[in-house]
């Protein structure tokens, strides 16, 4: 029989090695799957890397994808730091995109800098207010935020769908259910061929890092996340802290929505998020809520997404199969936490034990 024994403290290096091993295991298992599909796993993995970094265009795509992931993950990290499980990134992205689009569609002729600034502010407020609803319920009546934020995703999605198929449908689109494109002034400018969002993302990594490590609010959020009793004891205003943290969390997700709508879709649509709010939960978790790790993990994950879509076309692998790889990596890394906490030992007295113990 194998028994598990709780480990003492583990060195940082060893725990990183275990997590890397988990990723490698995921790749190995996925390789078996590829083999079952009659393909050479090595070829597929090489193509995966090529698909992500093989050309300037592909690298740009990776950066664009990681931009959205970084900003959303930072937002989610703020909520998670407080142990407020914000699963509602998706909905907050939609509501941010919606609020920004409202400005873009109604004031298309404003000067570009003013219009974009207004859109950013609107996007952040839109996402922030949407996040404030579950925060209010949690602060006031201790409702379960996981369920509530999750459900509110669908409300936001259906709201945007309603707009797209209903009141905001573009009459010029010949009956096609789409919202009118933004004016040129409402589209984010490019820097080095990539929309300016990547600069926002880098700035935010630094800002959120400072927020966590040096600001009063960041400190309060961490204390509250660790123990509500301690927060009370320290004189922290618990309700206010929940509300503020969730507003910031939602605002960052809303900013992602604004960026996606403005720079990529050039309009509001139900595709504006594409599951970003959920993927960001994975990246946030894998990065231990640390801003600089979020940057790295997001880039790797974006590369995986980009490479994944490349191998779909290159090898004719179904999209679902490519997504399996993401799921496996997450699964293995989460499972590896067990090995960081426990070690397994073989029981030496096995045979004798079972004879006596079981009867």
């Amino acid at each position: 029989m194998i028994r598990m024994i709780k480990r003492g403290k583990m060195s940082k290096r060893k725990s990183v090695v275990i997590r890397l091993l988990a990723v490698i295991f995921a790749l190995v298992i996925f390789a078996i799957l590829i083999r079952v599909m009659d393909l050479n796993p090595l070829d597929v993995y090489v193509a995966l890397v090529k698909g992500a970094f093989g050309s300037v265009y592909r690298i740009r795509e990776v950066i664009i994808k990681s931009t959205a992931l970084v900003i959303t993950s930072l937002g989610i990290a703020i909520a998670f730091k407080m142990q407020f499980w914000n699963i509602g990134g998706e909905g907050q992205i939609f509501m941010g995109a919606f609020a920004a689009s409202y400005i873009a569609l109604n004031y298309p002729e404003l000067p570009k800098p003013l219009l974009l600034t207004l859109m950013i502010i609107a996007g952040m407020i839109g996402g922030g207010l949407w996040a404030l609803i579950p925060a209010f319920f949690k602060a006031q009546w201790k409702t379960n935020e996981t369920i509530m934020t999750l459900m509110m995703n669908y409300i936001a999605l259906k709201w945007v769908m309603y707009l797209q198929y209903g009141p905001w449908k573009d009459p010029m689109a010949l009956g096609f259910p789409k919202i009118a494109n933004f004016s040129a002034n409402a589209i984010l400018p490019k820097v080095f061929g990539i929309h300016i969002g990547w600069i926002f993302a880098l700035l935010l990594v630094v800002l959120v890092s400072v927020f966590f490590n040096h600001s009063k609010k960041g400190y309060e959020i961490t204390v509250l996340g660790e123990s509500e009793n301690t927060a009370l004891y320290a004189g922290i205003d618990i309700k206010k802290t929940i509300l503020v943290a969730m507003f910031i969390s939602g605002a960052l997700c809303g900013l992602t929505g604004m960026i996606q709508a403005s720079a990529l879709n050039n309009t509001l649509s139900i595709d504006v998020s594409g599951g970003l709010g959920f993927t960001a939960i994975i990246t946030t978790w894998l990065a231990f809520l640390k801003p600089f790790f979020i940057l790295i993990v997001s880039i790797l994950f974006a590369a995986l997404l980009q490479g994944g879509s490349f191998i779909q076309t290159a090898f004719g692998i179904p999209q679902a199969a490519a997504e399996l790889l993401q799921g496996m990596i997450l699964f293995f890394v989460l499972a590896s936490e067990f090995f960081i906490r426990y070690k397994l030992v073989m029981n030496r007295h096995q045979v004798a034990n079972e004879k006596k113990g079981d009867n």
């Binding site: 403290k9 009063k216 609010k217 301690t230 004891y233 004189g235």
Partner: protein, 507 residues
Amino acid sequence: MNLISMEGITKTFGSVVANKNINFQVKYGEIHALLGENGAGKSTLVNMLSGIYTPDSGSIFVRGNEVRLTSPRASIDAGIGMIHQHFKLVDVMSAKENINLGQKNGFFIRDDILTKKILEFSNRYKLDIIPDKKVYEMSVGEKQTLEISKVLYRGANILILDEPTAVLTPQETKKLFSIMNKMKEEGCAVIFITHKMNEVMAVSDRITVLRKGETVKTVKTIDTNTKELAELMVGHPVDLAIRRDKVSKGKVLLEVKNLLAENEEKVEVLKNVNFTVEAGEILGVAGVAGSGQKELCETITGLYPVKQGDIFFKGEKLVGMSPRQIITRGISMSFIPEDRLGMGLVASMDMVDNLILKDYQNQKGFLINRKPAVKKAKNIIKELDISTPGVNNPIRELSGGNIQKVLLGRELGSNPELLITAYPVRGLDINVSYKIYDLINEEKKKGVAILFIGEDLDVLLELCDRIMVLCDGEITGILDAKKATKAKLGLLMAGEKNGKLGDAELD
């Protein structure tokens, strides 16, 4: 002849060696005390007897046969029964139903036969069990007796008691001891875990002392004394006297008037509480666990809602103020809560972040400057002799004693005028405990008013100036510590009002 013999037992958890080559023998018909400081490995050792852990190496013999106790079931089958610190009883069931739980005796049970059997059994051991009394109606002492009966009824003749007296009044403790003696007469063996030396001297036949996971010595109780035992436990001579410094009393600092508080179920947890604490005085609070001590501390510090009544600090009304207001108003009150890591400190944060917990709000601006706290941390490490790899390690990596020192360091560092401490030495070893008593005395000399919630009556009697006894949220008496006795305190803890004690008061 040995009933139990454990030979060369070793058990490790990760890199921690909890038990190292331990030898431990228990004879028929003896009460054997297992003595040691927290972390000495007492619980680990008996958990291997009760089948919760299995040893990494070494052998266990019961009645001369080697056994492998791989599960609690195997242990019960071997006649070993353990009474845990936290009772494992079903609240809504009666005594006999609890005893009968898990018994393999057919599908239907004749109620009257069961009652008869249990009464017979209860008389034999003088347990005084009322078979039809529900558990939720029982006092802590009755619950414990029921736990013991449950184990005995299953045929255990080796009984392990893990710190059984922590939750009992002195009178209940006495009763427990008489049950233990009765068992001894019946030829059973009792293993009694504790760190209270007076109890060991009072009830045990032999004592095995553990230190840092190893057996130091097994001695006969009649051949030893508390001083020697303390030395064996700690490893060097210790002075067991607690000083009580004479300090001329000052003015009243804290005044609590007709205080009433309710919990979430609208049950009164503090009933019409009245008392004062003066500068330069230690007011001890005694009472069985859960008599309202926690609520009392928390209402004073603004953490628990007050239903009625008043609390004055130097004449200023505290009721209605939030903890933040109390801090920002500059009311110099320090609180060392019972739950150190769950309330007083943040386990995952380092010392620096823990030191700023209560005063970061006084800094101006959006950011926190941690430099002064780093300096403070280094000072506290030096002054209180804290062993830690550095100021930036999460404090949960420190030992219990060092964690408590960090908390004390922060709270005393703010130069309070009122100090509230709840069980400040719980779980700490003798050296640290005495260091903490010294620190509290230092504060008293500075003229600080101190409210000391304690559990060890000997300590309360020696350290405090006055002792207030709480029972079920009510003050049953406030005694002068010099004139108080354990017996008196015990009666008050059990709910006898001061008035009825008129005669006892005089002697």
